[in-house]
């Protein structure tokens, strides 16, 4: 077989580019400064301020001396949970190199439930409620941090796994933990089961108010660490090899990130209960609107979105619809839809 190549009629293209060694003589155009992140942050901050004011004041009955501290604690709890969920999701997605997984989807909510069940099963609800709240809170957080770190390490260790395998692993683990809990539930007294029912959904009404400051301390430390890691997290976006190339100790950094993530998720879960899909919602929204890949922008934007969604949602539900506990359910519903949509689209970013 022969191929005939006909000369084209047009003249040959430009000379094969002439050498231009780097010279600093030519004036370089300044890169355009990206102002969008700043405006997004200011806009979100202002909206959040309005929402928080509304939450504190709208429909207040009775003396301010009671209303302000009461609502203030609740506001603080929502702020803590919103920030923790948003920041942990963004960090987790950066180190796992995808935009579908959240730390809770990986079986964490079920793990929390299992922990609660095990407690009730082994020591009984009476003695469980007798444990001083801060002690129980710290114990729960510690157990979950330990399990969380082990779980994430195990899932992410060794060969790179595809996102779909990780999702599947998360589901399987979730089912496994849940079956264990329901097995134990069958063995316990129906009255004690009541205690567990409360543990299944996050609630901003029935959490223990005395724990808010302790949680704030722990979460504050974790968020400060996350902030300190922000530039290294940016580099992790390039994947393991390129991050190594740029001098970032990938294994150590990822290890540290996973500990921070586990603390954020565990403490916020121990405070108000498990939240599965919410992080997915705010993180993906944050990537869309932040206008920058930098964690110094994405993490605060996601955090502001998270708090805003909780505060605004809770205000509307409480004041307009006079619902009390439905916020978590609604948020999970929306987040679940986003999860499915992302999964269907095969969006692995």
């Amino acid at each position: 077989m022969s191929l005939e190549i006909r000369p084209t009629t047009t003249a040959p293209g430009p000379e094969p580019s002439t050498q231009r060694p780097p010279s600093s003589a030519t004036p370089l155009p300044p890169p355009p400064t990206n102002r969008r992140p700043r405006w997004i942050l200011i806009g979100l901050g202002a909206t959040l301020l309005v929402a928080a004011l509304a939450f504190m004041t709208v429909g207040a009955k009775g003396s301010w001396d009671f209303v302000l501290p009461f609502r203030g604690t609740k506001l603080l709890a929502m702020a803590l949970v919103g920030v923790a969920v948003a920041v942990s999701t963004v960090m987790f997605q950066t180190v796992t190199d995808n935009r579908i997984l959240t730390p809770s989807i990986m079986g964490f909510d079920a793990l929390y439930l299992l922990l609660q069940t095990t407690l009730v099963f082994s020591i009984g609800s009476a003695r469980m409620t007798a444990i001083p709240a801060p002690a129980k809170f710290l114990l729960e957080s510690a157990v979950m941090v330990t399990f969380g770190v082990l779980l994430y390490r195990w899932l992410l260790s060794g060969r790179r796994r595809s996102v779909h395998v990780l999702v599947l692993a998360g589901i399987v683990l979730g089912v496994f933990f849940r079956s264990l809990s329901s097995f134990m539930t069958r063995l316990i007294d129906p009255n004690e089961f009541q205690v567990l029912q409360d543990a299944m959904f996050a609630s901003f009404n029935s959490f223990d108010r005395s724990l808010v400051w302790l949680a704030a301390l722990l979460l504050g430390g974790a968020v400060a660490t996350a902030w300190a890691l922000r530039r290294r997290l940016d580099v992790l976006l390039l994947g393991r090899e390129r991050a190594t190339m740029l001098g970032v100790d990938h294994q150590r950094t990822v290890g540290l990130v996973l500990v921070v993530v586990a603390v954020l998720v565990s403490v916020s879960t121990a405070l108000v209960g498990p939240i599965t899909f919410f992080g997915l919602l705010v993180a993906n929204l944050a990537y869309r609107i932040a206008g920058s890949h930098r964690h110094a922008v994405v993490m605060p934007v996601a955090a502001l979105l998270g708090v805003l969604a909780l505060v605004a949602g809770q205000t509307v539900l409480e004041q307009v619809f006079e619902f009390d506990t439905a916020l978590a359910v609604i948020i999970e519903f929306l987040g679940g839809i986003v999860f499915l949509a992302l999964l269907m689209r095969g969006d692995k970013r």
Binding site: S17, L28, P32, R231, D234, V235, L237, M245, G247
Partner: protein
């Protein structure tokens, strides 16, 4: 500059890099050639500390790559990988700016920005600087990744198939740039190329690998000869001299 001392890498039972010994002097352009699966990328990854050694040692500028701190090495070695998959959505400028990380640790200075702008100019990406990488052609993306590597401003440059996806004009320009980096800036450049004639024309030194081992190495006129190439590739290769330079043909 680069000393590979009996480097070994095994995957399972297979010794993918099998006791390679190499000493590449400072400055100059070395090409690694060889068939698919010969272990070229693995060898480059070993030198760039992207995969761990299972035996032997690698020294870059006298520093052992397994024991030297990663951020110290990042200011001495930069590497381009064979595949340029990226999970996140970045612009060319974002990507190239990452090349400054070893120097800036993320706090980009005006001087860093100057390096970035120069690297973008250098690879003919001026008009694409603020384009997202997933909205560019394969060759444009390849140039963006090379720009990032150059921006790291290291003495040693390891490039795995830098000519991937490039049209002839940009391929020639790329090789001339790498030559210039070696000649004018004194960089030690190592490239993996599949085009034997590109290797013959642009390199000071050619390393021919097969089955995880270095089969031959030497200056172009010593390696680019029918016996060596036929042996390395298991394919009849004839070599002609065109304008005083060896030129291999391997298809009819």
């Amino acid at each position: 500059m680069i000393d590979v001392l009996d480097a070994v890498k095994t995957y399972g039972e297979v010794r993918v890099v099998d006791g390679v010994r190499l000493a590449l002097p400072s400055g100059g352009l070395t090409s690694i050639i060889g068939p698919n699966g010969a272990g070229k990328s693995t060898l480059l990854s070993l030198v760039a500390r992207l995969v761990g050694l299972d035996g032997g040692r690698v020294l870059v500028d006298g520093l052992d790559v397994t024991t030297t701190k990663s951020d110290v090495l990042a200011r001495r070695i930069a590497a381009l990988r064979q595949e340029n998959h990226l999970a996140s959505r970045l612009t060319v400028r974002d990507l190239v700016t990452f090349g400054r990380y070893p120097h800036s640790k993320g706090r980009t200075t005006p001087e860093d920005l100057e390096h970035v702008a120069r690297a973008i100019e250098f690879l003919d990406l001026g008009s694409l600087a603020d384009r997202f990488l997933d909205e560019m052609s394969g060759g444009q993306r390849q140039r963006a990744f090379v720009a990032m590597v150059l921006c790291q401003d290291t003495d040693v440059l390891l490039l795995d198939e830098p000519l991937n996806n490039l049209d002839p004009r940009h391929a020639v320009a790329m090789m001339e740039r790498l030559r210039a980096a070696a000649d004018q800036l004194g960089k030690t450049v190592v490239v993996v190329v599949h085009d034997i004639n590109v290797a013959a024309y642009y390199s000071d030194h050619i390393v021919a690998m097969s089955d995880g081992a270095v089969m031959f190495e030497g200056p172009p006129h010593a390696v680019i000869c029918p016996e060596v190439l036929s042996d390395v590739y298991g394919l009849p290769v004839s070599v002609h001299t065109i304008e005083g330079r060896p030129h291999a043909t391997y298809f009819r």
